[in-house]
């Protein structure tokens, strides 16, 4: 469930970083402590270690990917966002990151609550189900869409909890969470900052990155 996403083959070949990873790297303070939940092959942890000298940890469901991460020197454990986050103490990390994984968890709300508890900040990225191509696929063809971010057909997709940017903002409100920063990316990878109005971003954004904190926390 946590190994949901990886850089495309061509991106890896060219040693390019995913646009959402680059944005997360900008959001994170140098030398901070970061937990990457669903860290996949460790690309983000490596980027953060290389560019921000973070003290990074990862959790990943796929045993093969965990072993590959540890073999390249990253601190990663085999685990599950739905099961294993309860073990971590409050505010153990400066940032708890969930990168293109929340839609594949069983209980996204609980996972988000845990992220906000474990990290002083939570950074969450997700594919936007409100993107116009997805809407068009449903509207005109009447079929579940398959895109670069959502490549699997409905019957084998791990993504049981897809949401739109507007849906996610609503969950943030429900959880009394402060959105410190939010950016959508269009299909060309251009940034569309999310301010008060969501309409355009929710239509044009293929994926989004949110930096959050609990309201109580100052």
């Amino acid at each position: 469930m946590l190994d949901r996403t990886k850089p495309s083959r061509s991106a890896r070949q060219h040693h390019q970083h995913r646009v959402d990873h680059l944005l997360i790297a900008e959001m994170v303070a140098p030398g901070s402590r970061v937990l990457d939940v669903g860290c996949g092959d460790g690309a983000l942890l490596q980027l953060l270690a290389d560019t921000k000298a973070v003290d990074g940890r990862g959790v990943e469901l796929s045993r093969e990917k965990v072993n590959a991460c540890v073999a390249r020197g990253l601190s990663v454990i085999q685990g599950d966002a739905d099961q294993d986050l309860d073990d971590y103490p409050d505010q153990a990390f400066d940032y708890a990151v969930l990168s293109l994984t929340i839609q594949a968890t069983q209980r996204p709300r609980d996972v988000l609550v845990n992220l906000l508890r474990i990290g002083h900040r939570a950074i969450v990225s997700f594919p936007n189900f409100g993107h116009w191509m997805i809407r068009a696929e449903l509207l005109f063809n009447g079929r579940m869409p398959q895109t670069a971010n959502l490549p699997e057909p409905w019957y084998s997709s791990p993504d049981s909890h897809l949401c739109t940017i507007r849906d996610f903002v609503e969950l943030c409100d429900v959880l009394d969470t402060v959105v410190e920063e939010a950016v959508a990316f269009n299909s060309a990878g251009r940034r569309l900052p999310i301010k008060k109005s969501l309409t355009l971003q929710n239509l044009l954004g293929e994926k989004a990155v949110f930096k959050l904190r609990r309201r109580k926390h100052v």
């Binding site: 072993n67 020197g73 601190s75 454990i77 103490p89």
Partner: protein, 396 residues
């Protein structure tokens, strides 16, 4: 106060010690200051025998302690002086190996309670001039670790770069990381658990009862009578050996194959290959192991419960740790199953420790940690290299 003695290996086998250019520095140190044991008693004097490989750097920052398992010993990477077999972990430890003796100063001690140079029940009690036998104090994993710590004091090593061990060796790693936090930069507990399960205690009890049921055990005084409980210890080893393998591994290796015969003999001979194999394991084991040592060490493992030492909260054992951990389990290990490694990981997470955790797929059972498992070696190599970088040690 210590006195250092040179190895007591017979001269005629010294030439055989070298395996692939690995020649250990063998030594033993006798400490006259008493070791305060967990049972409240004091042990003095006591001797710790050890092998070392490679060179200690000027800062004394490149030392790796390897902790051996129940029936292991200090001959981790060199040919064994009694059995003639290669070092028990020579796949992992040696020049150019994942634990590279060209880069690290690797130390392996014979544990306290052992029978290959360190003080144990077969050692002479200076009070009586005879072997301790059952008057030897019941020791714990913590006592073994404290004795090793005394050796590190003697060698002037304040902090070990890494402590690595599998099975009971992994218990020592956990105890090191708990009792001597500041002395452990990196900890690698492999195929182990933070407490010995009921099932494992049960298997150990079978082994001990087999030893004790042997008339030649003589209530532990067999050395005084010049005999050995060979049969009892052999049966203990046979039973234990089954627990180190998996059903799949046994089936793949032996199936129902008969041993050098066309048909069943309708007797209690070792008709099946698996019987012959176990009998061989049992009989070769007694040549190199002391029966009372087996009783004492299995007892130490049974008593091991790191959580109980910390108010039944395992995380408390690690609170404040700055060590980097790499926990490893194997899929087919039913003696120390993955869930027991996961408990260690959960406890480490609860104190926000720096921990990696991998489960290696293998059908070899518990013994997998001693075998050629490339994914396991890749994990150890990566972890050790990244820790070396963090510690400021030169790259490979």
């Amino acid at each position: 106060m210590t006195s250092q003695t040179q190895p007591d290996t017979p001269d005629n086998i010294k030439d055989d010690i070298d395996v692939d250019g690995v020649s250990p520095q063998m030594g033993s140190v006798t400490f006259t200051d008493a070791l305060e044991l967990d049972n409240g008693r004091k042990l003095a004097p006591f001797t710790i025998a050890y092998n070392a490989y490679g060179e200690l750097n000027a800062e004394k920052s490149n030392a790796i302690l390897i902790c051996h398992a129940l029936t292991g010993d200090q001959h981790v990477a060199n040919r064994h002086p009694i059995t003639g077999k290669e070092g028990w972990w020579s796949l992992l430890v040696g020049p150019g190996k994942p634990i590279d003796t060209n880069r690290f100063y690797v130390i392996c001690t014979n544990i306290l309670g052992g029978c290959l140079g360190s003080t144990g029940p077969a050692s002479i009690d200076p009070q009586t001039g005879a072997a301790y036998g059952l008057t030897f104090p019941v020791i714990t994993i913590g006592d073994m670790v404290d004795a090793q710590a005394r050796l590190m004091d003697h060698l002037g090593i304040d902090q070990l770069f890494a402590v690595v061990g599998g099975s009971m060796g992994g218990m020592q790693v956990l105890e090191w990381a708990s009792r001597h936090k500041e002395r452990v930069f990196a900890a690698v507990p492999i195929a182990t658990a933070a407490w010995h399960s009921s099932q494992n205690i049960a298997f150990h009890e079978v082994g001990r009862q087999a030893v004790m049921a042997d008339p030649q055990w003589m209530r532990g005084d067999y050395l005084k009578h010049g005999v050995t409980p060979r049969n009892g210890l052999s049966v203990a080893r046979m039973a234990a050996h089954i627990t180190y393998l998996s059903e799949d591994a046994l089936h793949a290796k032996f199936g129902r194959n008969l041993q050098n015969r066309a048909d069943r003999t309708f007797s209690f001979d070792a008709d099946f290959q698996v019987e012959s194999y176990l009998r061989h394991q049992g009989s070769t084991f007694v040549d190199r192991f002391d029966a009372n040592s087996y009783l004492y060490i299995t007892r130490a493992m049974d008593y091991f419960d790191l959580a109980a030492e910390h108010g039944d909260v395992l995380a408390e054992a690690f609170r404040g740790t700055q060590s980097r951990f790499c926990v490893v389990s194997f899929t087919s290990d039913w003696l120390y199953p993955t869930r027991e490694s996961r408990e260690i990981v959960q406890a480490l997470n609860a104190v926000a420790a720096n921990v990696s955790f991998v489960e290696i797929e293998s059908n070899a059972g518990h013994d997998a940690f001693l075998l050629d498992e490339p994914e396991f070696f890749a994990t150890i190599t990566g972890f050790i290299n990244s820790c070396a970088q963090k510690r400021g040690l030169p790259a490979a």
